[in-house]
Symmetry: C2
Subunit: 330 residues, 2 copies
């Protein structure tokens, strides 16, 4: 495998050239390098830096069952009707073991399979540490350089990833649907607090209006983003009803996303969010570098010996960590 | 607040003394220090190191709705009948915003509220990075030093936390229940792969036998823990049916946990797992130390300036990370 991988990635500059020309196969291979945390990434990112595009990054989050994939597909269609090139990144950080999403690209988004203005990609982030924050910005950079005007990031997982996606996107859509559980559950996951736009999907079902009322009520209580409100000033997340399976409401969602983009740019927040994102990315890579130095110590038994002393009660974990850090930074 | 906190933690040695004597209030305050990532922890852990107990650590994981809290409560009762002192740690890593579990200690485990052989504690891990792996072992150390024979760790969150808990426990129980979604969903979350013991709760409901059959079938396919199988040799996770709300099956679960413990000890895996856990803990603390050094750079604008250059395409994120690491380790 290593040999094949090495041969495949031999000509990185050519691969980057093809990807920036919009070659879907080359784009896919670069994202595979990101997914694999390939050593070749360093060169890839160096080559991509001056060609960075300026894709608008839209995050989609919400509990399983609200219709994220269907909504993503409907948004892709809406953007395509406006002549935009669209990238879709379905991120699954929930499975460190599988090494890939169970639902692969093949069963997703079949409507767009033959459209060369659309890149669709599932991505698993294999490492624990900083998985999503490490890999996703690099995949975004690839899609942006490949000429995408819009990149939709859809989290497949649940839990913390739903919140994290907000830190990666310019605009975060929180999807809800009738009958998906109570408001407290949603509030608990923190996803209401990260919404720039609420999408109430399956709006042809009973209870959709109640979901809208609940959201308005929570907004009126100021439950939405106490921290964000301070930063963002006066943006109150609009609520849009959709029936994604029929494409209903997708155009309105895109309109609201555009409005949010105009607002972000006018307040300077677009630049702030992107700088913040780059800072998170650089920090995540730096931590990976430092972690690999710790890993070298681990391979060399230093950490295991320290751990043995901790288990025996001979040293406390902080003192052991001090020894480890001294080894890394000496 | 800082003043109050400082005053409260002024006499760390006395607090540690009280906690190791089994004072529930002192135990709670030490765990609050862990939750707050207090600077006083360093001294706490130093004082606790020579008094480390040897609590058996049992992880409980499973999707929301399978009855984790009820099962935990039933297991506490079963252990109390055997005269064991029990600690319960309900970890909620899913909510970085809330700063605490919504369901506090008060509404949990009311059966054991007046039993001084039981410590019950919810804990939110506030930081993103290494939250669970950083805080939980230290809370375990507190409970162990306080004389707990058994510590049950229950994850309140979903997703990656369900898998992570396995790396913190000697024995991991995966809870399932009839009607909670298909097997693929469970396999996707990776939780089947970490099970030392399967508990099929709500076994008085339709479909319980089907869940057992599905599990046996997946075990026969070797879907359980390809990586673990190599390490663990011949342990095949037993499947126990329970009705936790009535306490049915809890004693059998405890018996199976004991058997797993005997097996772990006989193979040397108990020591291996504990060493591994200590290594993870030391590594997590070391990364926190390094991260705080990066944070100092962030506060000092170095990272923000680097991020601005990344956004402008003047430098790639890897080169920026190199600069950052050089600043940290110089």
């Amino acid at each position: 495998m290593t040999g094949i991988r090495a041969r495949r990635t031999a000509d990185v500059p050519e691969l980057v050239e093809q990807a920036t020309a919009g070659n879907a196969r080359a784009v896919g291979r670069l994202i595979s390098l990101v997914e694999d945390a390939s050593p070749a990434l360093r060169q890839v990112m160096q080559l991509l830096a001056p060609r960075a595009g300026h894709a608008r990054v839209i995050g989609l989050t919400g509990s399983p069952g609200v219709g994220k994939s269907t909504s993503t597909s409907a948004l892709v269609s809406a953007y395509r009707r406006r002549g935009k090139r669209v990238g879709v990144l379905a991120v699954d950080p929930s499975s460190p073991f599988s090494g890939g999403a169970l639902l692969g690209d093949r069963v997703r988004m079949q409507d767009h399979a033959t459209d060369d203005g659309v890149f669709i990609r599932s991505m698993a982030s294999r490492g624990h540490l900083g998985g999503l924050s490490w890999a996703t910005p690099q995949a975004l950079r690839v899609l942006s350089a490949a000429g995408c005007d819009i990149v939709l990031i859809e989290t497949v997982g649940v839990g913390q990833a739903e919140v994290e996606v907000a830190s990666l996107a310019d605009t975060t859509l929180v999807l809800l649907a009738p009958g998906m559980g109570d408001g407290i559950q949603a509030a608990k996951a923190g996803i209401l607090e990260v919404a720039d736009l609420f999408v109430v999907n399956k709006a042809d079902r009973d209870g959709a209006d109640q979901v809208v009322r609940d959201l308005r009520y929570m907004q009126s209580l100021g439950m939405q983003a106490p921290s964000q409100a301070k930063v963002d000033g006066h943006w109150v997340a609009p609520i849009v009803k959709t029936v994604a399976a029929k494409g209903e409401g997708a155009d309105e969602v895109v309109d609201r996303i555009e409005e949010h983009g105009v607002w972000l740019a006018s307040t300077g927040l677009l630049e702030t969010r992107r700088r913040q994102r780059a800072a998170d990315e650089v920090e995540a890579i730096a931590l990976t570098v430092l972690r690999s130095r710790i890993g070298d110590l681990r391979g060399g038994d230093a950490l295991d010996r320290l751990a043995g002393r901790v288990v025996a009660g001979e040293v406390d974990p902080y003192a052991a960590a001090d020894e480890l850090v001294a080894g890394v930074t000496q």
